[in-house]
Subunit: 331 residues, 2 copies
């Protein structure tokens, strides 16, 4: 099966290539496309060098499945063109809330793949993907009423240039030199910025709104959620502090067991020094890790937990490739 | 009035000296004490050099007010000795929950200073101090029912050596060299550790339990709280993401106005790029800053907000000196 990747040279594009290779995905030819700026460069796939083609003149009829990971504006313009010839798995937020576009985390709602009206499948926001993969088994068990979320998100979620800016600013800060911010609104080195994506209505940011709306679309519209999204000086992996209220009384041992057995999840929760997972440790791992699971004594039927996942994998590339696998299996 | 500082060479001890000097506190003599390791070193106060005395042989009858900031074990042993001669303002957690020891944030409960039975006044935990100074005016207005807290805490809260470790690990990480953790259980550079202070019952850490219990003691035992405390790679200032549920219906404009006018608080909340405060910006400032105030649509009578404060000032040295001022005024 021929596959194409649009935005191949970006953080997520490169990860998709890596995941396809690791999974031994059944590929005929792999085509790579990017902006004219990156066209002509070469990327490795299974020991072969593949030249990156110019997106503007790319022939979408060459591929059966096309991954898009080049931002909302590129998706808005090129995904409808690509979808005439190919099934598109889109990483941008542009089509996610379209009722005719399924928004998929395969472990949660692969059933929704039965309803692909536009030849487009959307990949959720990175912080949403790791959230729903945890909430799903808990919702099945005890019926989730409400979730209060605070995130600790890495710079890789913003792209390659923001990651470089973290490194640059960190060096300048260690030398007591003046710091200038380009990719962030404020200094990110040795700091925390309570703002991801643009501000929208009511003082929320788009990232916070996405977490609420996408979770409802993927999992259950009846779940209430509220989020505060914060960027911290970490390279890769997002962490989330979750306060989860159930409709039914819960059993902590059952939660631990069900989360540990859930596809894509792993519980690391020893309640002692080091007995939990941090973002740096989750980098490069496929699992979403769950730690610090405990009863919240301030409210009925409520727990707290901490979860960490590689935002470029579960939150993007791995999830996109798993969508492709589920799509092939479903056909 | 003669003043003594035990733990004068530590992060907080040095800050107390700085605050006393800046405030032009009415001091006769200033005496400094520390462990035998630091005894003999000299610290500056108002252009004079003061020699640090050995705590083991220190004469507590020399001072009318003694600040302690040398950890729980030193306070356990020496505070009762000091309190025979001097009013002690203790930064450690050792006496905080003692019913005969008032736990004070002057802007919140200076009335409790009328009840000093043991000649000891306790200074709250850093993350609690900035929390209650915000909750107090809101509780007066709309009666707080429950608070869900996720913290973003700086390394200075752990001490000077942990701050140095963050710098060292950051340098090693930038050079791709192997990182060893001594003061933290895991790598802190470019990471986030969901663990502050020791693990106690039910999977909570002592820091999380302190936030709950101390807030209840200072503000109102009827307020329900739950906390997740996380260390992030920041030098100074703690941030907190708060979800606050009121008993009564609230008015967002009123909240903004009351918080901005509250003693020790400042609202910076423009709902646009950069229109909020980050930890690096709060360093060295006396105010607790409040940003990202918004209605939580997932629950009745509930808001989200983000607050930041210099943990060495409001969370420690400034609060300790303000306790001394309130004590003198009350006498």
């Amino acid at each position: 099966m021929n596959i194409a990747i649009v935005g191949a040279t970006g953080n997520v594009g490169r990860k998709i290539i890596e995941v396809l290779e690791k999974k031994d995905f059944p590929i005929g030819n792999l085509y790579l496309a990017a902006s004219s700026k990156s066209a002509g460069s070469k990327l490795k796939f299974k020991n072969k060098e593949i030249e990156v083609e110019n997106l503007e003149t790319f022939d979408f009829s060459k591929a059966k499945i096309t991954f898009f990971s080049a931002g909302g504006k590129i998706s808005e313009k090129y995904v409808p063109l690509a979808a005439k010839h190919s099934v598109v798995i889109d990483n941008s937020s542009y089509f996610r809330m379209d009722p005719d576009v399924p928004l998929i985390v395969p472990q949660v709602n692969s059933n929704d793949l039965k309803n692909i009206k536009k030849n487009i499948i959307a990949n959720p926001n990175c912080s949403t993907a790791q959230l729903v993969i945890i909430l799903k088994p808990l919702h099945d068990l005890f019926n989730i009423k409400r979730v209060v979320i605070s995130t600790y998100q890495s710079t890789s979620g913003a792209g390659k240039a923001p990651m470089d800016e973290l490194v640059e600013q960190t060096k300048l800060s260690l030398e007591n030199k003046k710091i200038i911010s380009k990719n962030f609104t404020k200094q990110i080195a040795f700091n925390a910025i309570p703002h991801i994506d643009m501000f929208v209505d009511d003082g929320y940011t788009k990232e916070e709104v996405k977490m609420v709306n996408e979770t409802k679309k993927i999992l259950d519209n009846k779940i209430e959620l509220t989020a505060t999204c914060v960027r911290i000086p970490v390279m890769v992996s997002h962490a989330e502090s979750l306060n989860i209220e159930f409709v039914k009384p819960f059993n902590l041992e059952k939660i631990r067991e069900v989360l540990n057995n859930a596809d894509g999840c792993k519980v690391v929760d020893e309640r002692k020094d080091g007995g939990y997972i941090t973002p740096a440790e989750a980098e490069g791992k496929n699992e979403t890790f769950i730690s610090r699971i405990r009863k919240d004594n301030s409210n009925k039927n409520t727990i707290n937990l901490w979860c960490v996942s590689d935002n470029l994998l579960r939150g993007a590339a791995l999830n996109a490739v798993e969508i492709a696998e589920a799509y092939i299996k479903n056909k």
